[in-house]
Amino acid sequence: MFVKIWQALVSGLSVGSIYALIAQGYYVTYITTGALNFGQGEFLMIGALFGVTCYITLGLPYAVAVVASVVLLSAMGAGLERIAIRTTLRHALSLSWVLSTVAVSIIVRNAAVQIWGPEQVKFPSPFGDKVLRIGEAGIFPQELFIIFGSIGTVLLVQFFLKRAVLGKALTAVAHNRRAAAVMGIDVQRMVVLAFVLSSALAGLGGVLIAPITFAWAYMGTVPGIKAFAAAIIGGLENPIGILIGGLAVGVLEQFFGIINSNLKEGITFLFVLLILAVRPTGLMGRKEIEKV
């Protein structure tokens, strides 16, 4: 029994850390603009497929492929902000960004099918396929890399937001747009930065998981949705909550897979409904105080 739980924990952490990484992207744009990119999953997919092009087709080193994907996705993030966000956020209460980001995600997916085809592509792990043992549990080196890479990146982003000047400016915009503008911060640029950062995280997620999931045009939808669920569970405005939420979703799925494999897929969303009913701001979200 212990081995089973230990294996589920190890496997769950590697899946969950990717959810956490994508969800961090939702967080960054949500706090700055109140909007988020519902195409995060598709952006992740582009990261993975572009990684294939760099790493396999062009034969570049894995590190270069990672950087190239992150750069490409950063550019796509800036583009997304320009065409799908800036135009729709002009009106204060507008929800059009939901539709426009979904539209972009569909376009991106279809474009990917045109460019890379609908087939799964093998992305050999640069760390090899030899199973490592942590106690009794087995894990692929790539999965270990995913766990450390994702959690490390999430912490790095937090460090950037709290310590770096640019990050502080972004955080200031998140707290109070008008005050930040008065202080001489270029709000528009910070919004672009938020989307660049968010998309870059998705791109990184893509190159990280491709060796485990294969790379293909339809790979992003499910992780995108589950990461969103993780963000809701953890609390969209709490980065640490999101990290824990992501890991929790990954581990929960594996645990319920042990109890009954029929529960594995549905359990996350059941959990979301439960959280929304009991704590609408998420497990670790701040309670909103309404003044009457």
Binding site: Q7, A8, D129, G138, T213, Y218
Partner: protein
């Protein structure tokens, strides 16, 4: 004035165009059309693409010999995107708008189970050359006239080869797993039924997994705890690779098998030689099992050299034979091409096509292992217990399992 002159010219032109078009229709009889609806995109697109090669070659060969009454038979090809709803749309369109005499397809069992109702109701022959769910043929087998035919080993027959193997090797503890698609669930039911009949208990499972799952350790851990010595998995190739990987992860190294989906080319492409080594699957066809098969394999390789040659031989060969059976039936029915627009006449032609397919008894040129009389009123499965065997992956090649 000028505007009016222009209008007049346009009116005369339009009239002339309509008149010509109408005349053209009277002069040239409408070509006979055969429908083809398979997955060219989506989960089972490899099968669809390979099937299309077989379909096109059969038509090409037929038309090269003069076609039907001197006119080439036309193909109407649609992609069902591996979606049942799209498959229903395609078949409805083929029947009502494109006016085809028979339909070849689909490749996905989930899609097939959704469209056989229309084919049966509209009384049009549906030649399934890939999809394996038992119910595709069974559902209407008690009707006076079943319009569905198959050139593929159904899941029951495939599973029976696995059970033969289990009994021959004296394996005692069997694990069962399946994907959550319609096909996976029907496979599970088939396996449970046949294992019960053979008195083999299921020691672990049935465990379900999503076809896009990347980690099957929870399901496989249960197999490991139950100490299974053999696993049957209804899985397509991509999930099959994940099963093999997860088995490595938790350190369970028992032989396991699936249906012919695990012989698909992407199993080797995604899994590589080491991972696929020792994985078993049922098949009905190898490229060198007969002279006909050898010749056909060389022909496909040559015709489709640019598209990777005969990349999925089973799918291509079965569809080639299935399409040729439909064309042979067309020759037997010999409808009048000029009257195909007449709905009542077309209905009659389609009914006769079905009867003709059922009664073909001189099909000696098959590339698959089917008899000269592939079908009978009480049997719409052309491939049976004598046409298949359990194969195993060895160093990237498929060989017969001993």
């Amino acid at each position: 004035m000028r505007a009016r002159g222009w209008l007049q010219t346009a009116a005369v032109g339009a009239f002339a165009w309509f008149a010509l078009a109408a005349a053209g229709e009277v002069l040239a009889a409408e070509p006979v059309k055969i429908g083809f609806s398979v997955s060219l995109t989506g989960g089972t697109d490899d099968y669809g693409k390979a099937a299309m090669m077989g379909f096109k070659l059969a038509l090409k060969e037929y038309n090269a010999k003069g076609g039907y009454k001197g006119q080439p038979v036309e193909a109407v090809i649609y992609d069902d995107e591996t979606k049942p709803a799209k498959g229903v749309e395609n078949v409805t369109r083929l029947i009502t708008r494109d006016n085809v005499v028979a339909i070849v397809g689909p490749v996905n069992s989930g899609v097939a189970l959704a469209i056989i109702d229309i084919a049966q109701k509209q009384q049009i022959t549906l030649m399934d050359t890939i999809a394996t769910a038992e119910d595709i043929i069974k559902r209407y087998s008690k009707e006076p006239k079943n319009y569905i035919f198959r050139v593929s080993l159904n899941d029951g027959i495939q599973t029976s080869f696995m059970i033969d193997y289990i009994q021959k090797k004296g394996l005692k503890k069997i694990g069962l797993m399946h994907d959550s698609t319609g096909w996976g669930q029907s496979g599970r039911d088939t396996a449970l039924r046949l294992m019960k009949e053979a008195n083999i208990p299921v020691s672990a499972g049935p465990e379900v997994f999503d076809q896009n799952d990347t980690d099957m350790t929870p399901q496989l851990t249960k197999m490991k705890e139950a100490n299974v010595d053999f696993i049957i998995a209804y899985s397509l190739a991509p999930a099959g690779v994940q099963i093999a990987k997860s088995m490595q992860k938790i350190g369970i190294a028992v032989p396991w098998t699936g249906t012919w989906g695990l012989l698909a080319p992407n199993f080797l492409r995604l899994g590589g030689k080491d991972l696929t080594n020792g994985v078993m699957a049922v098949t009905s066809y190898t490229v060198d099992h007969s002279e006909n098969a050898k010749k056909f394999h060389a022909w496909v390789d040559k015709e489709y050299a640019a598209d990777g040659g005969d990349f999925w031989p089973v799918a291509t060969a079965q569809t080639y034979d299935g399409t040729r059976l439909v064309l042979r039936a067309l020759d037997k029915v010999a409808p009048d091409p000029a009257r195909l627009d007449d709905r009542a006449y077309m209905k009659e032609v389609r009914q006769k096509m079905r009867d003709a397919v059922e009664s073909i008894d001189d099909f000696t040129t098959a590339v698959t292992k089917m008899k000269p009389r592939p079908f009978a009123p009480d049997n719409h499965e052309s491939l049976g217990r004598d046409s298949g065997f359990l194969a195993i992956w060895r160093d990237g090649k498929v060989v017969r399992a001993q």
